[in-house]
Amino acid sequence: MRLCNDGAGVFVDLQADSPYINQMHNSMYCRLPVLSLTPFNPVKGEARFFALRLPRPAGPAWTRWRPGQFVMLRPDSFGLELPWGRPFCICHVTDGCLICFFQVLGRGTSRMAALKQGDMVSLWGPLGNGFAVEEDNPTLLLAGGMGVAPFVGYVNTHPKPWNVSMLFGHREAQECYPVNNINEFIPLDCWLECGPDDLRHFVDAVRVRMSECASCGGLVLACGPTPFLRAVRDLALELEVRTQLSLESLMACGVGACLGCAAITTPAWPTPEKRGRPVQICRQGPVFWADQIEL
């Protein structure tokens, strides 16, 4: 494979069918070669958790990316058979690379698990709004399983990480998740769920920590499966603590066109004409204030 930098810092594969080369500089769409795919696999058997590294895309949008934003990824290997890209939160962006973290769950992620170095991936982003950053305010991060991914970037880019702490509930071994990097910056409290009692204890711990946060006027940010977010939302409303939730959704386009990812707003939504109506998770979210959307 021959790779060249097209001037905007976007790597293009010269051997690829030329329609795939995007001539537009500053476009938020680019094609990138896989730098590496790292399995996070503590036990024997097929790896199901992966960190995917791609070259950091060029363009002004990537100097302004925010933790909580996402990208759409579509490997060439999807062919015609899987027409949609897949949304992934941005795990972290370093000087040289963009890191996404994924778990093998369906057809798309199964194919992504077979990616090799140099395989080409279409990427568009950064998309969506991202989490609030209140650097002087105590900030509690609540992660459920894969929901830990955007917080890697969050703690790495937070100006005052000593104000941030995290509670992490997970069902697989801790080594399956990219938490080592978080541990270096902030206090990390991990809860492994094996049975129903563990889940209850975790939710109790979440309640205690959210109450503390409420009493000091802090900020809560949550990311994880929808049932987990629902529990966090209920606590947020009960304890009256300012809470943002990063929603997960099926998406075809990621840019607000397919209208597949609708969330219904509450009467607390800021613009009156949209209250009680659908908004797009990809554009108005994926991060929402807990009191402003139904879940």
């Binding site: 027409p83 949609w84 840019v255 397919c258 597949g260 990812c261």
Partner: protein, 310 residues
């Protein structure tokens, strides 16, 4: 590389001049602005914006979309902000002086179609109306109008009368026994052009839960999977009507586009392709001259409807 790409859809009342034959399909390109970060909207022949109704609509419950082999089903149900919001907030931001803005319209009665058309007739930023008589995802109207030749004609006549200054395109449903009959009936009712095809009605099931995947149970199939059906419809319709046909269904690259022109289309619309890569329509338009040269196509007029049968 010198292929002339501009096309004129010669209608019975109004022509529609396009700088190139590449349009976007309604419901896959938002109001156009969503795709501005991925290409120059002005480089397209035209934008067909998301279906508008007289009042805002919330659409159907989720899940509204599901990926299927080489395609997708959608049952969005025409969620939109309504015609007034479009005219006030979206249209002024679109490059309508440089590229044709075509507004897809949906209503649940002939009278409502007429009121919607009348409202848009005075908007000089709107080049044409595409009548949606083929949406499979709404309880009232939608495909019902497009599956009945006399109803389709009645809607066309009403819109023609209510929007005398606009080019009127009618989007046909493939979910009919004889698409040619519907096409001829809207032609006789005054349509300036027809676009073929809207989505094919379909379903996806979840065996484990024994439930339909879509909240609306049924949805419309689009994407490369339906391209053969769309080509067939365009070919049948183009031979049977005098008004221009716009091809739509599974078009993702210049070769697909030229195949539709070979089958008789004057222009094409890129739909689900914009989900496969958001610059699909831009890339197609940019690449079209080179692919024309590669296939020895000197002008689209020379290629159009030249399918050799023996």
């Amino acid at each position: 590389m010198g292929t002339e790409l501009s096309v004129t859809l010669r209608g019975q009342t109004h022509d529609l001049v396009l700088k190139n034959p590449v349009l976007t399909a309604s419901g896959t390109f938002g109001y156009g602005l969503e795709f501005a970060p991925y290409g120059d909207l002005k480089s397209l022949g035209g934008l067909v914006v998301k279906g508008l109704s007289l009042r805002p609509r919330d659409g159907n419950p989720c899940p509204r979309i599901v990926e299927t082999p080489a395609g997708m089903l959608n049952a969005v149900g025409l969620q939109n902000d309504g015609v007034e919001n479009f005219c006030a907030e979206k249209l002024p931001l679109l490059p309508w002086r440089e590229t044709a803005v075509i507004v897809n319209i949906y209503a649940s009665s002939v009278d409502e179609f007429a009121r919607l058309a009348q409202r848009l007739d005075c908007e000089r930023g709107v080049a044409a109306l595409e009548i949606n008589v083929s949406c499979p995802n709404v309880a009232q109207g939608g495909a019902l109008f497009g599956q009945d030749a006399s109803l389709a004609a009645a809607v066309t006549t009403a819109v023609r009368k209510a929007a005398p200054s606009k080019h009127i395109m009618v989007k046909l449903s493939p979910n009919v026994t004889d698409i040619v009959r519907i096409a001829q009936s809207v032609e006789n009712a005054g349509a300036d052009s027809v676009s073929c095809i809207n989505t094919l009605q379909g379903m996806a099931l979840d065996l484990r839960s024994r439930r339909p995947v879509l909240g609306n149970v049924m949805g419309g199939l689009s994407g490369p999977a339906i391209k053969p059906v769309a080509l067939r419809c365009v070919w049948q319709v183009a031979r049977a009507v005098r008004i221009p046909v716009v091809g739509v269904g599974g078009i993702i690259n210049p070769v697909d586009a030229l195949e539709f022109i070979l089958a008789g289309a004057y222009a094409i619309q890129v739909g689900t392709g914009s989900f496969m890569r958001p610059d699909c329509a831009f890339a197609l338009a940019a690449k079209l001259p080179a692919v024309c040269a590669e296939y020895g196509v000197e002008s689209l007029d020379d290629l159009r409807a030249t399918l050799t049968m023996d």
